[in-house]
């Protein structure tokens, strides 16, 4: 009688210990796959002296970013499609038009199209057709205090009225 009790207990103990060990192994193995650090590129990037940008648009492949210059004002529009993250392409408009963007006039020289599912955006990044759910992001531009280079902050989105005047 005591014998069966003991056997029962030992079976449960053994099974329980085995299950705990397996469970711990499993949890540890799975957890090890969730990254703790991400070696992302820095979000503030120096882009070069403002003088190096000619009037109009420049595509920066590394940052996936369009920099626009109009005289002495600059702004930056993301090239990452808001649908599924492909890189949009810029196409020059036959003739530029000036529209009111966020209260200040802006000369639109291009429009954007996405090769993945065909979203289209106007030159200030507003989605006009296709599956893109929202406009392209605008990022803050500034001038570096030390060497006067143009700096973009890819972590800080700004409104479409943003202009950097140099």
């Amino acid at each position: 009688m005591g014998g069966t009790d003991r056997r029962d207990f030992l079976i449960k103990l053994g099974t329980g210990a085995g299950a705990c060990a397996l469970g711990a192994q499993g949890v540890a193995s799975l957890r090890s796959l969730a990254p703790n650090v991400s070696y992302d590129a820095p979000t503030t990037v120096k882009l070069g002296p403002p003088a190096e940008f000619s009037d109009g648009l420049k595509f920066l492949a590394d940052e996936r970013l369009f920099i626009f210059r109009n005289g002495n004002t600059f702004h930056a529009v993301s090239a990452v499609c808001t649908h599924l993250g492909c890189t949009v392409r810029a196409e020059a408009l036959p003739k530029p038009e000036t529209v009111d963007v966020g209260g200040s006039p802006l000369q639109l020289t291009h429009q954007f199209s996405c090769p993945c599912h065909g979203s289209h955006y106007t030159g200030d990044g507003v989605n006009t057709s296709g599956p893109a759910p929202k406009p392209l992001s605008w990022y803050r531009l500034s001038v570096a205090a030390d060497d006067g280079q143009l700096v973009v902050d890819l972590a800080e989105e700004v409104g479409r009225d943003f202009r950097l005047t140099v």
Binding site: P35, S38, Y39, D40, C114, G130, P131
Partner: protein, 442 residues
Amino acid sequence: MAQQPPEAPGVRSRRFWSLRPRSDRDAGDAITSNFLLHAMPAKVSNASMAWTYSFWLGTITAALFLLLVLSGLPLLFLYVPSVERAYQSVKDIEYVVSFGKWLRAVHRVAAHGMVIAVVFHLARVFFTGAYKNGVGRNQHREWNWVIGVVLLLLTLFLSFTGYLLPWDQLAFWAVTVGTNIASAIPWVGPSVRELLIGGREIEQATLIRFYVLHIVVLPGAVAALFGYHMWRVRKDGGLARADREEQLETPRTVPPTPTKTYTLLGVARGTAPTVTAKTLIAADTTVNAVPDLVRRALIATLGTIALISILAVFIASPLEEPANPLITPNPAKAPWYFLWLQEIVTDTTIHLGSFTINGAFIGGVILPGLLIGVLTLWPWLDRSPREATGEWFHPARRTQNLVFIVVMVAILLLTYIGMEMRGPYWEFFWPWETWPSLPSRI
């Protein structure tokens, strides 16, 4: 002179088992004494072995999997899973290694073939109502259907993980678009994607993840589940076609068969020998699994391997420019079996006033989720009578067969549109129209 030891039961003098049994007993023995064959029943009904019943699509799928493992082995020695060297190593396989081009083509053609075969197998099972339970007590064919759905998903995922390995533009952008769909899931999406690709960008962490999934985890899972799949077929009393046999024929009297040791359904129900036999148990409607079933399985397997080997001579494997995260090809397309999803993802962004739902969420998550869910639960939604088990296009299942066909045709159509009718910027072109030539870079 030394004494001959007595004969002992289970001790065999022959070096191998026999595939040419001389008696029923020999045939049964050939199964129970062989590790590879022991999963088979001793007897199979003629009807369930017919080429035109199952078209042997499951066997063909398994043969393709076997071929993928075999052709994957040499690739495994040659391929280097690092972002610096993956592309170069695949290029070497393609242009430098002896027979490398062919081996790679065999692997690729078999992979695409397996996706096709597994879908055809599913369609066959659906149209024959083979997930239904016929005559036996405690049959659970619906479980095998669910296992089948998991095997389908595993096959797709296997192929998708393999797609990234060459690390060319095709691979990189297909996986970019594919994994970005995951991030469209509300709240958890970005974390799911991060776990899938091991970070926030597709790079080394992603490659090694996909690689390990591709060569160990997923093939292992497929092999294990396939074993269970086969075991369930046995425990449900064989193919559904055998049940049908049992249901429809009127019992007739056959002379008792003195040598009978097993029947196909003997394990699941009742014992032989019978005097008033239903057709299944009658000697003239069944054959020994060894050699008849084995012979057909071998024909299907070798035929598949031969066909793929020949096709691989003529079908070249694509290898585009090395992956470049900075330049999206135009148009950028997913692997063909996901093109219907890419097509849906393109068309389903919804604007409700100021509120927008990303098409990636509807087309990439909700719709496929629903489809898989309904597919999984279908055996419980199907209310047709037992008689509809194991027959092609049984009238009682007409409506559901139609629904299935409509969905399949819709998927095929979307796939075709995605494949042939989408040009730069995913714009619509008829197949006979030429795409405008655009600068490939800015």
